[in-house]
């Protein structure tokens, strides 16, 4: 009994340390994004007025600077942004006249749905093809599987998306993404059609590293004594593959999936643009060109929080998969 409570305390404290370090990381990110944006030539005024900025007189510029809040010292700007971020309205987007939270509330589900579809498709494809490959290393099927992994790694998402859009729109006259975006709770069938291809593009990108990790992890586990024992005592081959080999190879696969989910959020920027999905990627991209500081900062923070959370979750999943990790 005492052993168990000791262990639990250990787990608790390491989780605690992880969360504390995650908060420091998030703080670092907030400062970094804040500073990078201030280095960008041009500011919210030039972003909003374009070349007409030159026609403004100093008085007007001063008033606009005050209006946008960029006449304050940097530290004050940071504090005021942090305050609005933590209070949950995320700051104000001048171009849309809404709070960044309102924008994010609409955009975030799109990206999260996309990332989920991408991850699920990617993990299924990756593990299936990895297992397919690892069954007979060096064979023709292994070659085929590895070729898939390599191409999926090497063909950029924007190339794949462009090719899909071109073929669907011109050969089959089918391009659901040219219609207005439908959230799944309004029109699930339309939503599925709009998400299917971008999800597939992201899924293929995830499948590549997952497949490679699965293959090498499986090959490593297959050589272990307990697998030979399982075969030796007559456990059916399929059962050995899943219960002994795959189960004991899960750790690197879970790690890889966690990492990939994070990168999907980045990959979403390009895919959302091509498939005209109103997600977080597009929100950031547009806000950067308009120099909307609060929008970029808060959106990036949302990305970062998700990324860090996923890392912590990956850690927790490890512990479930591998009881040896304390």
């Amino acid at each position: 009994m005492q052993g168990i409570s000791k262990l639990r305390r250990l787990v608790f404290s390491s989780t605690f340390i992880r969360i504390a370090s995650a908060i420091t990381t998030l703080f670092g990110i907030s400062v970094f994004v804040f500073l990078v944006l201030r280095v960008i030539p041009g500011n919210t005024i030039t972003g909003a007025f374009g070349i007409e900025t030159g026609a403004l007189n100093p008085q007007q510029i001063a008033e606009l600077r005050h209006y946008y809040g960029i006449d304050q010292p940097m530290v004050m700007q940071y504090i005021s942004w942090m305050r609005s971020f933590l209070s949950g309205n995320f700051g104000y987007s001048f171009a849309t006249g809404r709070s960044v939270f309102t924008l994010t509330k609409v955009a975030l589900p799109v990206t999260v749905e996309l990332a989920f579809i991408g991850t699920i498709l990617g993990v299924i494809m990756g593990i299936a093809i990895g297992m397919f490959s690892a069954r007979k290393p060096g064979s023709l099927r292994d070659f085929g599987g590895q070729l898939f992994g390599l191409l999926a790694l090497a063909i950029p998402g924007f190339v794949l998306s462009t090719a899909i859009v071109t073929i669907m729109a011109n050969k089959f006259h089918y391009f659901p993404n040219s219609l207005e975006y439908m959230p799944p709770w309004k029109d699930p069938w339309m939503n599925f059609q709009q998400m299917m291809f971008p999800g597939l593009v992201l899924g293929i990108a995830v499948a590549a590293p997952v497949m490679r990790t699965t293959r090498s992890a499986l090959l490593e586990t297959v050589d272990k004594d307990f697998v030979r024992t399982a075969f030796g005592k007559g456990v059916p081959s399929r059962k050995v593959q899943f219960k002994h080999v795959l189960r004991n190879s899960l750790i690197p696969i879970v790690t890889m999936t966690g990492i990939q989910f994070g990168y999907l959020l980045g990959g979403a920027v390009i895919v959302e643009k091509i498939f005209a999905l109103p997600g977080m990627g597009r929100q950031v991209l547009e806000a950067i060109t308009r120099r909307e500081y609060a929008t970029v900062q808060s959106s990036v923070m949302v990305f970062a929080i998700m990324f860090v959370t996923i890392n912590i979750l990956t850690d927790l999943v490890y512990r479930r998969v591998d009881p040896r990790i304390k």
Partner: protein
């Protein structure tokens, strides 16, 4: 001592050449490098910027090997020139990232204490970012010139090199021969360069090949989004982006630049895998 080292080096090359995929990767990569050198020397059938109103959207022919685009520019020359630009940006970026990252990583691992803590914390911050988003923000703040894109990509990939270099240093530093060197009174720079650097060599070489492939993808992604190379200059990502409305009736505008990106990334990945197997004695048997 010297002789032994030579043998092991020859061993690595020998093992590398034994792997088919490694050789294929090296050939693909070499092809792309030669092609880029041709573009850099101006040995192209047409000027990549020359617009020709009489030959808009010509299909591939003996005159225009990869056809022409909607400005009548030669896609073959533009693809080669774009490859040159991608490689220049990526090689510069990765060299920069490797030099800074390895130095910081080795110093951090070796010196430890607050220096190491600051470096790990800062790289954690960078790791909590999707790479393309980070590059996007930095490019937006720096500008579009090729060296600015390089710098942005370098900043994104420096933490990876820090991590790759730091890990082995942490384990090597506790080994007896390093302790002995310290007791013998060798200076820190000597220990770092002569005894620690060779031990982190293998993972770093592999990392360089892989990072180059990511850098090429990031660069082309940025120019696809309109944030890298600016028109009328040719860049593979930009060519794909320009091909979007054309691809339906002029497939060559999309296919050839895409093919070149894919080939160079495949090549770099194969080279990376080959190097990993060749430089790691434990994996040679498999």
């Amino acid at each position: 001592m010297a002789k032994k080292k030579e043998v092991s080096q020859r061993g690595a090359v020998h093992y590398y050449l034994q792997s088919t995929s490694g050789v294929v990767g090296a050939v693909l990569l070499l092809f792309m490098i030669i092609v880029s050198i041709c573009a850099a020397m101006g040995w192209l059938p047409h000027n990549p910027l020359d617009q020709n109103i009489e030959s808009l959207l010509h299909a591939p022919s003996s005159k225009f090997w990869f056809g022409t685009d909607d400005f009548g520019r030669d896609v073959f020359s533009r693809t080669l020139d774009g490859m040159r630009r991608s490689l220049t940006v990526s090689i510069t970026a990765v060299s920069l990232a490797a030099i800074v990252g390895i130095t910081l990583g080795i110093l951090g691992g070796y010196l430890g204490k607050w220096f190491d803590m600051v470096i790990t914390r800062v790289s954690d911050v960078f790791f909590a970012f999707p790479a393309i988003l980070l590059a996007l923000a930095i490019v937006a703040s720096l500008g579009n010139a090729w060296y600015e894109t390089s710098l942005a990509i370098a900043i994104v990939y420096t933490p990876i090199f820090i991590r790759v270099a730091r890990g082995p240093v942490l384990s090597v530093k506790e080994m007896d021969y390093i302790k002995v060197s310290r007791i013998l009174g060798y200076s820190s720079p000597r220990i770092l360069i002569k005894h620690i650097l060779p031990n982190v060599f293998a993972p770093i070489v592999v990392q360089i090949a892989l990072s180059l492939s990511w850098a090429i993808l990031t660069e082309s992604g940025l120019s696809f989004l309109g944030l890298g190379t600016q028109p009328p200059n040719a860049s593979l990502g930009l060519m794909v982006s320009d091909a979007q409305p054309l691809a339906a009736f002029a497939w060559w505008t999309l296919v050839f630049p895409s093919l070149f990106i894919t080939i160079v990334v495949v090549g770099l990945n194969l080279v990376g895998d080959g190097l990993r197997d060749a430089l790691d004695p434990a994996r040679r048997s498999s």
